[in-house]
């Protein structure tokens, strides 16, 4: 039933233009709204999920439109054959432009899109190849056999079948290993990298996908209008598409659809009425849209869709069938007592400040080591040096025999080091299960094509089964389908541990795992860590709760002012006069 309903709605919608009495004008407007929806859905992936923004989607639409215009008018290629070329042209343009800005923080990308939109507008308008400002006309219509799709009613079917296909493909993409990685870009890039997500690659992917959707819309536009010129692909059009996504709600594809329909319809009415009211021709609608954009951001930053969705009652949390999936292969852990990690002469300076000063650290398989010390002792910096987040100024870190001093976080993750964060970094709006499944990112291999075509279902089931297993292991089974950001802070920390376990790590680095937990929860956590140790896992934890650390760890390393102060079993550390002095001050 739930599968049939959307199909039934689509069929009913596709019949609308053939109902007698529906004005032609409405059909034309619906066609434009459909084109805009496709572009806006791309922006949902890019902005709502990936946390990036582009004002230049109309320009990518232009790449698609001009590609098909040139191929069909100059080279006599069939429009259907020009479709892949049009989409590819937009995609390649996005790859190139994206490669330039995607390593910079988000607003550079957005500003870059403004600059190239203006620039390419003049390129389209000044090159003979593109027909200068007159553009290219006499583009052939789409044909189905002998039938030329020249009426807006027949084109309605083409446009909205394309919209339906885009909705389906985009849902597939977002509900996949790759899609979760795109969403993770918003939950803090440090966390995404720590379980192996290739950040630049994922950003380029989201950007390219959005551009390819715009290219598809451009192809549809060219064969609907049968002519192209630079104006509909300029910066103003690009801004309008972003407006649609933001006003409708960039967090959901339905928001994009709503925004595209709303803005297209309102735009048409405003262009009709405002010049009459003001007595001049002109683009007065920009006033309304500009103010609307600011008001929506101020009062309802998620757009209008969540309010509309709210009318139909609360969303049901999604449950997944994961029970019968085969288990993922697991790493063989090193033998108990074998060296796992050894850091020698580890040093990190920030300007003149020595944050970590010639620290030596070794961890053997199957032990729990506590890293303690007063605030500012260099514990978190040490964590960052071990996980590739920061590069040591001097010294070396060897993990299972490999030098990882110059490795990136994804490389370190691939070798089997998983971590949690002092400040919890979960992806808001995603369920506990999905957040934990992110940790298994490197244990799956399905790429975007698999995701789009749903060839990743078997692997997905295995990843989610693993995530569920880890959630059960840490004792959060009751919260599996709740939104991760709705949990108490202490529980969110435990979710991070489950996510780290999903990596199938050799070494687990936990940054203040017990902070914010209640007494009973701390005891559960300690029991969990003991079980993990019994299974052969190596654990290094930073913690301020001395009871917790003293009772749990095999060995303690005490840091002060960036240097190692003492090392040994809990009992000897407790009696060490230097440690007492560091914590309590000198007795004299």
């Amino acid at each position: 039933m739930r599968r049939l309903l959307p199909a039934a709605i689509l069929v009913a919608w596709l019949c609308v233009p053939f109902v007698p009495g529906v004005p032609n004008f409405w059909i034309t407007l619906a066609n434009y709204a459909g084109l805009a929806s496709i572009v806006a859905i791309g922006l949902v992936v890019l902005t709502g999920y990936g946390g990036m923004t582009s004002f230049g989607q109309a320009t990518f639409m232009g790449f698609g439109a001009y590609t098909t215009a040139l191929l069909t008018t100059q080279a006599g290629v069939s429009p259907w054959l020009a479709l892949p070329a049009a989409v590819a042209a937009s995609g390649i343009a996005a790859l190139l432009i994206g490669a330039v800005t995607l390593r910079l923080s988000g607003h550079y990308l957005a500003l870059g899109t403004i600059a190239w939109s203006v620039s390419l507008y003049y390129v389209f308008g000044n090159l003979d190849l593109f027909g200068r400002n007159d553009g290219i006309s006499a583009i052939p219509p789409l044909r189905l056999g002998e039938l030329a799709l020249t009426s807006s009613r027949s084109y309605f079917v083409v446009v909205w079948v394309a919209v339906a296909a885009v909705l389906l493909l985009t849902r597939n993409l977002l509900d996949s290993r790759v899609g979760r990685a795109i969403r993770a870009l918003r939950g803090g890039t440090a966390a995404a990298a720590s379980f192996g997500v290739n950040l630049p690659g994922t950003r380029v992917l989201a950007f390219t996908y959005a551009a390819m959707l715009a290219g598809l819309a451009g192809w549809l536009y060219a064969h609907m209008q049968r002519s192209v010129n630079p104006t509909p692909f300029g910066l103003n059009a690009g801004i309008e598409y972003l407006l649609m996504a933001v006003v409708g709600g960039a967090g959901s594809m339905w928001g994009a659809l709503l925004g595209a329909g709303l803005v297209t319809a309102v735009n048409d009415q405003l262009q009709n009425w405002l010049p009459r009211l003001l007595g001049h021709q002109g683009n007065y609608e920009t006033i309304v849209f500009g103010i609307l954009l600011v008001v929506v951001l101020q009062t309802s930053p998620e757009g209008i869709w969540p309010h509309v969705r709210g009318l139909f009652g609360p969303a049901r949390p999604r449950t997944r069938q994961v029970a019968d999936a085969a288990a993922l292969p697991v790493r063989t852990l090193p033998d108990r007592g074998a060296p796992v990690l050894a850091a020698v002469g580890l040093r990190k300076t920030f300007g003149g400040l020595v944050a970590v000063n010639d620290v030596a650290l070794h961890l053997d398989a199957g032990e729990i080591v506590g890293l303690i010390g007063p605030n500012g002792a260099g514990k978190s910096t040490t964590f960052n040096l071990l996980t590739g987040v920061a590069r040591p100024t001097a010294g070396q870190v060897r993990f299972l025999g490999e030098d990882v001093s110059a490795s990136t976080p994804p490389r370190v993750a691939a070798l089997g080091i998983a971590r949690s964060f002092q400040h919890v970094k979960l992806v808001p709006g995603m369920s506990v299960l999905e957040n934990v499944a992110l940790g298994a990112h490197l244990r799956g291999g399905a790429g975007p094509l698999h995701a789009l075509l749903r060839l990743d279902r078997a692997e997905e089931a295995r990843l989610f089964a693993e995530a569920q297993r880890q959630i059960d292991r840490v004792g959060l089974a009751a919260f599996t389908s709740q939104q991760a950001d709705s949990l108490a802070l202490g529980q969110q920390r435990v979710v991070e541990i489950a996510r780290a376990l999903c990596l199938d790590p050799v070494l687990l680095l936990l940054d203040e795992p017990a902070a914010g937990l209640r007494h009973a929860e701390k005891q559960d956590l300690a029991a969990l860590l003991r079980r993990l140790r019994a299974d052969g896992m190596t654990i290094l934890l930073v913690e301020h709760d001395m009871d917790f650390v003293m009772n749990l760890t095999d060995r303690l390393v005490v840091m002060e002012f960036g240097a190692k102060l003492a090392e040994g079993p809990a009992a000897s550390i407790r009696a060490d006069p230097r440690v007492i002095e560091a914590y309590l001050g000198s007795a004299a």
Partner: protein, 342 residues
């Protein structure tokens, strides 16, 4: 290459570059203090130029009604934010800022005889257009002060759209050109330097010096710098960051308006001409990484020269070349630095 032509082009480039430098400085200032990428800067240029042109022709500029309307709207928005602490002094301050200022400006414009001379016209223009900037901060950005840079950027685009349309309403679709500050021409070697060019470069240099002193020597300037370095820290030591924000917008509005007054004699300005001018200021500001004032100013002169050279050798592709300059710069920044996190 003909040396004389090159010199003339470079001179043009430096004059335009001086304007871009002013805009780039105020963009850096606004971004540093408020994290707003100030896209509507270009509209202040257009408003400034068109208001000045109207006064120059002895007409009443439409922008004074816009000023009154924005002041009224800012008053209402201000009342909304102080509604819980509706003390008499707070309301009075708000009324002075939002109602009295437009009223005084209106009175000044009304009392001034038509065509009072370029300097008075320039001052009136500044008085009419500049206060709009802090009103816009109050209306659009202050409620979003804690939002991300990306959200602020999108809001900034919204303000740009609205101001563009309002420009059409209040100035009409016709373009205008105004009288210059100076008709004099000075022959230096093979070059003829128009007086207006000297005015432009001189004003830019004076303003830069003034801004330097302001940031280095005054308490308000230091408060702005503190807000730029760390918002929360500034709040903790008692700096009202909303006031800093309005002050940054006031400065940016004044600089934009002045740039408009300076270019109005050079070229015909339409209600939508400001956007491209502002964007070139942006290219310069981005080259400076949105943080460095001297780098942005230097880059602005570079942008001006690239523009004037390309308008001579490939005039159809002038804008293409200017806006493509940004690509290698972004690439360089991207490869040089580690990935930045917001």
């Amino acid at each position: 290459m003909d040396g004389d032509i090159l010199l003339i082009l470079l001179q043009d480039g430096i004059v335009n570059g001086a304007i871009y430098a002013l805009l780039a400085l105020s963009l850096v200032l606004v971004f540093a203090v408020t994290r707003v990428v100030f896209i509507p800067q270009g509209e202040f240029v257009a408003y400034g130029a068109l208001t000045y042109a109207a006064l120059d022709e002895g007409r009443l500029p439409g922008s004074i009604w816009l000023l009154a309307a924005l002041g009224g709207a800012a008053m209402l928005a201000g009342l909304g934010t102080v509604r819980r602490t509706l003390t008499a002094p707070a309301v009075l301050r708000l009324a002075v800022e939002c109602l009295l200022v437009p009223a005084l400006v209106l009175l000044a414009v009304w009392l001034t005889p038509p065509r009072p001379g370029v300097l008075v016209e320039a001052l009136l223009t500044l008085a009419i257009v500049t206060p709009m900037a802090p009103y816009i901060y109050r209306l659009a950005f202050q409620p979003l002060a804690e939002a991300s840079v990306l959200v602020l950027l999108i809001a900034s685009i919204g303000v740009h759209l609205a101001m563009l349309g309002l420009g059409l309403v209040f100035f009409g679709p016709e373009g205008f050109r105004a009288t210059g500050f100076s008709d004099a021409r000075y022959a230096v070697g093979g070059l003829v330097i128009p007086g207006q060019a000297i005015w432009i470069v001189g004003t830019t240099l004076t303003l830069m010096g003034g801004l330097y002193l302001f940031f280095d020597r005054t308490l308000s300037g230091k408060a702005l710098r503190a807000t730029a370095v760390n918002r929360l820290g500034a709040q903790l030591v008692g700096i009202a960051t909303a006031v800093s924000g309005r002050l940054a917008f006031l400065l940016a509005g004044a600089i934009g308006t002045l740039s408009g007054v300076l270019i109005a004699p050079l070229t015909t300005v339409y209600y939508d001409s400001g956007f491209l001018v502002g964007l070139k200021g942006f290219v310069a500001a981005i080259i400076g990484g949105l943080v460095s004032y001297p780098l942005a100013a230097l880059a602005a002169v570079l942008v001006g020269c690239v523009e004037s050279l390309s308008s001579f050798y490939a005039s159809a592709f002038k804008e293409v070349i200017v806006f493509t300059v940004i690509i290698p710069v972004l690439l360089w920044r991207s490869l040089r630095g580690p990935a930045e996190e917001e």
